[in-house]
Symmetry: C2
């Protein structure tokens, strides 16, 4: 078990390294932190921390750098989440309040997050699978062509063109529209299929084909569009850690272009609190030198989507976690208000 002071030394190393971006030595450490012991003592502690795998030396006779394991300990036991200042909170609120629609909310969120954390921000669109149906609309585009519009409680809108097997009259259309809405309004997506299964039966035989087509398109939309969309921003922040540049940044940019990878990254976030994945804890190869800080957000108690940031393992964890948590909270409020 590590003594209290050794933990303190680790904390100091992490803080200094995050600040200076350079390996930190024993002398500098005693000068900048009020450790009450001499550099020699710190050296002993550092040797112990190194034996345990919490820190490492880039080369003999260089200072120490935290390992992934060291950051993990730091995040779990040595650091809290730094709350944002009142000014920052006001800025978030003001910025998000200006949004006009869902796209705008997500767009603003990603910019805000990138700016606050000075890192790459990733925001997932509110997932359809956990949202509820607010309204289904059917429009006639041509005698045998309809447009299906699906509106969710999070403000998301999906539309599909439906080619009907036979012409479908306006009155039947209004009828179908009304019945559909009365059945599935307010329902969650997974609950929809059984509720509409018998709808074709209540129509005239010659209309059943069209009704079935409409329904299967609707169900397809519900399933397909559970495929989750993402927005990312702030990639230019990657250039801030410019040292081992091309080698580090390339795979990260590539990983960020793959939705699948990102979704899995965010997917690991739990509903309840801020999740941090450090370095090699990220399975994807290109991201082993980055950390991901993510959290769920939603209009109510339950998370409907996730958001987070991706940055170097050498990041300001307390500040980043604070910013991510705060942004998620405000976005949730905004969604709830609409």
């Amino acid at each position: 078990m590590l003594s209290e002071r050794r933990l303190e030394v680790l904390r100091a190393i992490v803080q200094d390294y995050v600040g200076t971006e350079e390996p930190v030595g024993s002398k500098a450490l005693t000068e900048r932190h009020n450790l009450q012991v001499s550099p020699a003592t710190v050296r002993n502690d550092m040797a112990a921390l190194e034996d345990e795998g919490y820190i490492a030396q880039p080369h003999t006779s260089a200072g120490r750098v935290p390992t992934d394991k060291g950051y993990r300990l730091f995040v779990d036991r040595l650091a809290g989440v730094r709350p944002l200042s009142a000014a920052e909170r006001r800025a978030i609120q003001n910025f998000l309040d200006g949004a006009v629609d869902l796209d705008d909310v997500v767009g603003r969120t990603v910019r805000l997050l990138a700016q606050l954390t000075r890192q790459v921000a990733v925001v997932q669109y509110p997932s359809l699978s956990r949202s509820t149906v607010r309204h289904v609309e059917l429009l006639s585009l041509a005698p045998a062509r309809l447009m299906l519009v699906l509106i969710t409680d999070t403000g998301r809108v999906e539309q599909r063109v439906v080619d009907c097997p036979a012409p479908f009259g306006e009155t039947s259309l209004a009828d179908l529209r009304a019945r559909l809405n009365s059945r599935i309004d307010g329902q969650r997506f997974p609950e929809v299929p059984p509720l509409v299964a018998d709808l074709p039966d209540s129509f005239e035989p010659e209309e059943r084909g069209t009704v079935s087509t409409v329904l299967s398109t609707l169900l397809e939309t519900l399933v397909e569009e559970t495929e989750e969309r993402l927005l990312i921003g702030g990639t230019s922040n990657l250039t801030r850690f410019a040292q081992d540049f091309p080698l580090t940044i390339r795979p990260v940019l590539e990983a960020l272009e793959e939705q699948v990878v990102l979704l899995r990254l965010l997917g690991e976030a739990t509903d309840t609190g801020v999740t941090v994945r450090i370095g090699h804890e990220n399975v994807h190869e290109g991201l082993t030198s980055t950390s991901v800080v993510s959290v769920g957000y939603g209009s109510g108690d339950e998370a409907v989507a996730k958001l987070g940031v991706v940055g170097p393992t050498r990041m300001d964890y307390p500040g980043t976690m604070g910013a991510v948590r705060a942004v998620a909270r405000y976005v949730g409020q905004i969604l709830a208000e609409n």
Copy 2:
């Protein structure tokens, strides 16, 4: 006036430099290109080209590199647009054919373009200002709350929530919906305002407030959303020219995050053909060492939006122009089919 052979030398320099990414000398040039003259002669030609400002030396006793002016001459007079191979064309067609809706079309296009050109791709969503109204839908969400849905001929859907000054009955709603559609269906956006100006007058006094609110929201949407959205992709391709890395790539990434800058870039593209902006021809500071190849695309004869790629001035212009043109053409077809 430059002699035929000097133009040939310039073309050879551009081609070699694009291929090798290194300054090209007289000897290598005579070896790799069938110039029929000796290195010494080429040196004379190079000196002349340098006097005219078409090429430059990074330093004394290095090879020559094309200047922006050199690339310009190359693009304008020395190179054509390289058509894509049949296999490439098939690949484009297949890839785009799989798209399910407008978002998907744009998403696929940006990925395709990035992959084909191995550069950063930018695709503008079909602009609302040149599209026509296909349908307007009004839904009642609550007694005094409506949702306005606007569907365009390019398949784009915009929605807005409207808070009404007074409750609005279902029959009035249907009435308003019908009148709106009969007036503006198929109209271009700029033509809409005069067509609906007198609509409130034909309603009962207590309903006029709501009708006006709906109309102003509609007009706002038409104007606001002429604010054009963009999708970009393939930023990891920026890492391919890894030499003067952090300095070059940083401002480019920053520029790419600013919609305004990108819109202006694409906006310079003419409707008719592929436009190329080389190096300093781009006004934005961060993009002076990049070239932009862009073109308009649309479902008919007229361009409804632009797309293009951003890459180093040292790029394969004929191939890039060919790819951009081909992709634009196929996207236009896809849009026309829907």
